[in-house]
């Protein structure tokens, strides 16, 4: 009896210690500092970037171009080891690409493999998960249907338009069933109509696939429209200047949300922070 009590006590203390820094942070970007180059060529790109993202939260990171947004994402993805500081996922430091983390790259069309069909592109990441081939194909087809590409399974990426290639990149990330999804300026190089279609697609998908999302963008409207919170990065070297909660609820659409006075206020607030 006594020993059972003691054991329970130990477990609770350990759990408390692990959870201590930030109880519900899924992703903790902890004092990220990064210098590119050495000696005379050294450039401090990240000063000390610090923010957390709760499980299931959608956070947009905005900031001027060249401010270090991609660099932050690369650290979160485990593609870049910061000079100091760290990223923690559920409390565990990131060293190398974490399991169940997916990325939609800024150069999405370059991120697809031109020698594989659309479906094979989407299915390729599932090979590492030990999923048998028929299930891989099924899952890929399902994810492609979710982004509206069920008729393009057997085409090659270079046969598709930019917006469609972007959907393939999103489908590839979704099929992977990530807990964390990173997107780097996902809609930067598509036309306005495609862009708002893709924004609504992301809103819809978030309801189906429960994920923590960190999206980098330099489009403030898009950041406010899509996120639960907007983190504003200053440049040279990058620091978080403001973290703006977006309390617009879960049901959003292009027309009503974007004409909502609260939307205008939040947008103005983010814009001021960016220009500060």
């Amino acid at each position: 009896m006594a020993s059972a009590h003691a054991r329970t006590g130990v477990v609770t203390a350990e759990a408390a210690k692990r959870a201590a820094p930030d109880v519900d942070a899924h992703v903790h970007v902890d004092r990220l500092h990064h210098v590119f180059g050495r000696g005379a060529a050294a450039r401090t790109v990240l000063g000390s970037v610090d923010f957390t993202v709760a499980r299931g939260e959608h956070v947009s990171v905005v900031g001027p171009s060249g401010s270090g947004k991609t660099t932050v994402l690369r650290c979160v993805a485990g593609l870049l080891t910061p000079t100091s500081g760290q990223v923690r996922l559920d409390g565990a430091p990131v060293a190398g690409p974490p399991e169940s983390l997916a990325v939609v790259f800024q150069d999405y069309s370059r991120s697809l493999l031109p020698w594989l069909t659309v479906r094979s592109n989407v299915a390729l990441p599932l090979r590492g998960k030990g999923i048998p081939a028929p299930h891989r194909r099924e899952r890929a087809a399902e994810a492609l249907a979710a982004v509206g590409l069920k008729d393009s399974l057997h085409q090659y990426p270079w046969q598709l338009s930019g917006g469609m290639q972007q959907r393939v990149a999103i489908a590839r990330a979704l099929a992977y069933r990530p807990e964390v999804l990173l997107m780097d300026e996902p809609f930067a190089s598509v036309d306005a109509q495609t862009r708002s279609d893709l924004e609504d697609l992301v809103l819809r998908l978030k309801r189906v696939y429960a994920m923590t999302v960190i999206a980098v963008t330099h489009d403030i409207d898009e950041a406010v429209y899509l996120s639960d919170r907007v983190v504003v990065l200053s440049g040279h070297p990058a620091e978080v200047v403001e973290s703006v909660p977006i309390d617009l609820g879960a049901d959003r659409d292009q027309l009503t949300t974007k004409s909502d006075p609260r939307f205008a206020r939040l947008r103005a607030r983010v814009l001021r922070a960016v220009r500060h």
Partner: protein, 255 residues
């Protein structure tokens, strides 16, 4: 219909040239340029079909052995070297030197080390054709887009699959180009080594025909090698079209 016209167009010039050769050489009394009529008769006599079996097949055997060793070794070493910047940088000048060295210049050295046998001939073919394969493989693997590499890293595609579905296909346009250069070099190497080692084979046959002033026979060997080279190139084209379909179609303007 269109297909037929293309074939006719393709055949026009060769037929014209052969016709001209036939006509110009018809009354030739020069021992060096016998009438084509004679060469054709000789060709049928010599090569159909014992010559093909006894003379051409050994040549093709040596060629195939050396060429396939060069391809496999070139690709394997190339992939390994591309993965290691330090070693590749260290070896780069040596590799470039070996590539620039005319392979035939080394044949005497091969003979003194390996003798006059099949081993020597195969080694010479390997040495002649491995460099373009190896260097192009290194370039090709290095040239795989960094965004593609980041993607497969993030999605944790395992090593073996990464090699099979990402690295090799990504490098394949370069690899195939190197393998094509190697094809021509292999054929040169096999003929030259046969000429200097007087073994079986088309090179040896044509050299001994020349030495014994059997010039029609010499010409048939030259024509035969022309056909062989041409056929191998055609086969190569087909192979290239199949393996690089994505690459070729990607570069066509969108329709």
């Amino acid at each position: 219909m269109r297909h037929l016209r293309l074939v006719a167009q393709g055949l026009a010039l060769p037929l014209l040239l052969v016709g001209a050769w036939w006509w110009v050489s018809a009354d030739s009394t020069s021992p060096y340029f016998p009438p084509l009529r004679e060469i054709v008769a000789e060709f049928a006599d010599t090569w159909l079909f014992t010559g093909i079996r006894d003379v051409l097949l050994p040549t093709l055997g040596t060629f195939l052995a050396g060429y396939s060793i060069a391809i496999v070794a070139g690709v394997v070493l190339g992939v390994a070297l591309a993965a290691n910047d330090a070693v590749a940088g260290f070896l780069a000048p040596l590799l470039e030197f070996l590539r620039a060295l005319p392979p035939i210049a080394l044949v005497p050295a091969f003979i003194s080390v390996l003798g006059l046998g099949e081993e020597m001939r195969i080694s010479a073919v390997v040495f002649a054709s491995i460099w373009p394969v190896l260097l192009n493989t290194i370039d090709g693997v290095r040239g795989v887009d960094v965004v593609i590499r980041d993607s497969v890293t993030v999605f944790r595609v395992p090593r073996a699959q990464r090699l099979l579905f990402v690295t090799l296909p990504g490098a394949s346009p370069q690899i195939v180009a190197g393998v094509r250069v190697g094809l021509a070099l292999s054929l040169i190497a096999v003929i030259v080594t046969e000429m200097v080692t007087s073994a079986d084979g088309v090179g040896a046959f044509s050299r001994s025909a020349q030495l014994s002033f059997d010039l029609p026979a010499m010409w048939t060997a030259i024509i035969l090698m022309g056909f062989v080279g041409y056929t191998l190139n055609l086969l190569f084209d087909r192979l290239e079209k199949r393996t690089l379909r994505w690459h070729l179609r990607m570069r066509e303007p969108a329709s």
